[in-house]
Amino acid sequence: MTHAAQPLMLIGAVLFGLGVIGFLMRRNLIIMFLSTEVMFQGVLLNLVGFGAIGGNLQGQAFALFVLVIAAVEAGLGLGIVVMLYRRKGTLDAEAWATLRG
């Protein structure tokens, strides 16, 4: 079923790029993490597209592992964000920009 494989990969590339933009552009820590989740979506689509072209299900198996890693990263990352918020009282990423020369 490769008829949608290339469109899938194109959409995956665009989602990844948008995630990169969101990560660089926003100052809110939670939105930065959400942008990495958008990047994960792009990678997921790309993996499934590659798997469809290859003709086997290895792409989808790898995508499942990516899903596991995304869930783990979301849990731990948000835990750290909560601790950072408790320490500084703000979700601003610029609050941690203390290494200024």
């Binding site: 948008l18 958008v38 198996a61 408790r86």
Partner: protein, 275 residues
Amino acid sequence: MDTSVLIYLTFGLAALGALAVYMAAPRGGQARRIPAIALGIAAIVSFAWLVLQRHTGSAGSKVALTVLAVLSVGGAVRVITHPKPVYSALYFVLVALSSATLVLLVGAEFLWVAIVAVYAGAILVTYLFVIMLAQQSDVSAQDLSGIEPDALSAQPFQGSLGIPRSGPLDYDRDAREPLAAVFAGFVLMAITAGLLLNHAWPATRAGAAVEDNTFGLGKILLADNAVALELAGVLLLVAMVGAIAIARKRVVADVTTQHEDELPPGEIGRHVKPF
């Protein structure tokens, strides 16, 4: 259509999209809405057209692909440009659901359910919990004895009376370096899309699996990827232990936090003593 023409169109489309996202980025509380929305719609529609150029399936599949491409890309743009975190999380639910349906287009039924259950179900609920936990009522620390009603906007006045500010917070309202971020992201996007379009992808391999998707996936996971499966389980366990260890740690707020709200946003954290 000729591939090189498609690639030139991709770069042009990336430039259009870059302009749209740059205008839609939150800046000073008010992005320039009408041109951003118009350019954004033009960019997304052109992108849907570009995606359809490489689609070789039935008409129903084309319709589905168009709708899903528009939904996922539009949702992702709103995730990164919306000033309020809760709305970003909800738009991300839209992105997750549309990417789940996109993988359904290539026959990945189990992955469809897995993405909906894990992403939209678990990860987004966690994000919403954390957003609610870390929500701030932004009480501006203007001295109450010297209140000057700000004639330009009611919000500073609201904050100085201790009323929680209802608009987005200052660090949500301003994007940092939107020009550089949009340039970097769209150059990356254009190059990746150009490479994908340029590559001569092979046609369907003979002997593609016709069995049930879940069954085939289970077979592959247990037969070829057994070690990875076990490692994923160990990773989840370690992450759970780590999250509990992080959450139990008692955090002492920085000594300077009580004076933090007197500082303008760019100065928060700048005066922390090193030791």
